[in-house]
Symmetry: C2
Subunit: 241 residues, 2 copies
DNA sequence: CGCGATCTTTATCGTGCGATAAATAGCGTT
DNA sequence: AACGCTATTTATCGCACGATAAAGATCGCG
């Protein structure tokens, strides 16, 4: 796994080391050897840190991260004052930086059938969160007993769950949550679908026992089951689809 | 709180206080002071280790565990050859030791309505797994990239999921899995309910954002939604309930 | 070229942690 | 009550890891 960054071969050594193609720094660290611009270096460290801490957890050692990057460990401290600061940056990049505001609109667009909207949203959301980085980092963060996860999930509840409940209400001709607030059970029903989708990622990236079959199909089936089941548990007033 | 087995009332034991001034009993563990029988000591270490590693993760330090136990750190090594062996014991006690074989019978008992069986099973199962120890240790184990979780879940699939699918089949007058094996989608439907219940524990003990309301009610609602939804997605041949 | 700025490395400190060995002390036995 | 077995503690080793300081190397600019 480790690198052999030393171009010990007398031939190739000097050239590759001295002259690197600018800006073409990439993941396989042979290219970026020395003296990147601060901006590029910081980005490359942050990107590597995301993958690294997702795999190893936040106890992963800065020396190993540096080795993966093909740099020395003290260099990390020129760009981030501490390991904790680097972890903070990882949170930002993954959880804040990957939120798509369009999701909130998708759910509320009543020109589209509800089932379609939910499927569209959840497939798109799944594309973002069902990655090893998102799933594992989120779990590592939770296990650290910070309030980060609770904050994210409150945000999610306000931006997504409440809307989904409201759309379900409209779909079944029931009052808006503006008039009758979402009940615990209604929120839990949304949690059911949400958690069962996130759990696909837990199974694949934490348990290493990936679900059999196409995630899109599974999501579709889950949402159809949900909508059918809600119809049974909460029979509609008059409307039905 | 772990435990406080010995109340240190004013006139506590002349025995326990032999060498130690009662007032100087520091952290928490003051009851058992010294020279337990090997069996008792081992059990007390194992029990404390479950709570400790569940809280701190497997990177939790043996010195802190010893402090909680009111013993010194090297004593741990008289009862467990290494930290890793102690962790192995924790796995055994929590994941193997808490499995209830009766669960498998509950699911298959066709003298009881399916909805009742599922609710009974999942409430009982939830009683065991929806604890900080089970949930957090399971997640810590998964994040360590061992095959432990995959083995447990394969066991669960064979002992529970397949049976649930079979019972759903019977409920809706469809062929037994003995004749037509469970499909991916069917297994996924069971995963949906299962993961949404386990996720109640993740929310409470990892995210520290406990679900609102009684877990039993939530489980009941989830199972009713599941059964109703399956009826919609996979309409029955002739039978209906 | 050569020089200076700064990006990167080499060297190192202090601490924390798993583990071991030797010394100490509780408790049953006689 | 003394004895001896062994449960428990005291003392310590070795290394890993985050972090810092100083030396060295690279590149733009004149």
């Amino acid at each position: 796994m480790v690198r052999s960054p030393k171009p010990k071969s007398g031939l190739a050594g000097p050239l590759t080391a001295t002259r690197r193609s600018p800006g073409s720094a990439e993941t396989s660290q042979t290219g970026s050897r020395r003296r990147l611009s601060p901006g590029d270096r910081e980005k490359s460290i942050a990107a590597a840190a995301v993958a690294f801490f997702a795999e190893r957890g936040f106890e992963g050692q800065t020396r190993e991260l540096a080795t993966i990057l093909g740099i020395t460990q003290p260099l990390l401290y020129r760009y981030f004052p501490s390991k904790e600061a680097l972890i903070e940056r990882v949170y930002q990049d993954v959880f804040v930086g990957r939120w798509d505001p369009f999701w909130e609109e998708t759910i509320k667009d009543r020109s589209v059938p509800l089932e379609t909207r939910l499927i569209t949203f959840y497939i798109s959301y799944a594309n973002v969160i069902l990655t090893p980085e998102w799933v594992r980092l989120f779990m590592f963060a939770g296990l650290k007993n910070l309030d980060f996860n609770a904050r994210y999930l409150n945000f999610l509840r306000n931006r997504v769950f409440e809307s989904v409940v409201d759309e379900l209400r409209a779909h079944f001709d029931r009052p808006s949550i503006a008039n009758v607030p979402a009940s615990n059970i209604e929120i839990e029903i949304v949690w059911s679908i949400h958690s069962s989708i996130f759990y696909l990622g837990v199974r694949e990236f934490i348990y290493r026992l990936p679900p059999d079959g196409d995630v899109k199909d599974i999501i579709r089936a889950k949402i159809q089951t949900l909508l059918g089941g809600i119809a049974t548990v909460l029979p509609p007033a008059e409307h039905a689809t």
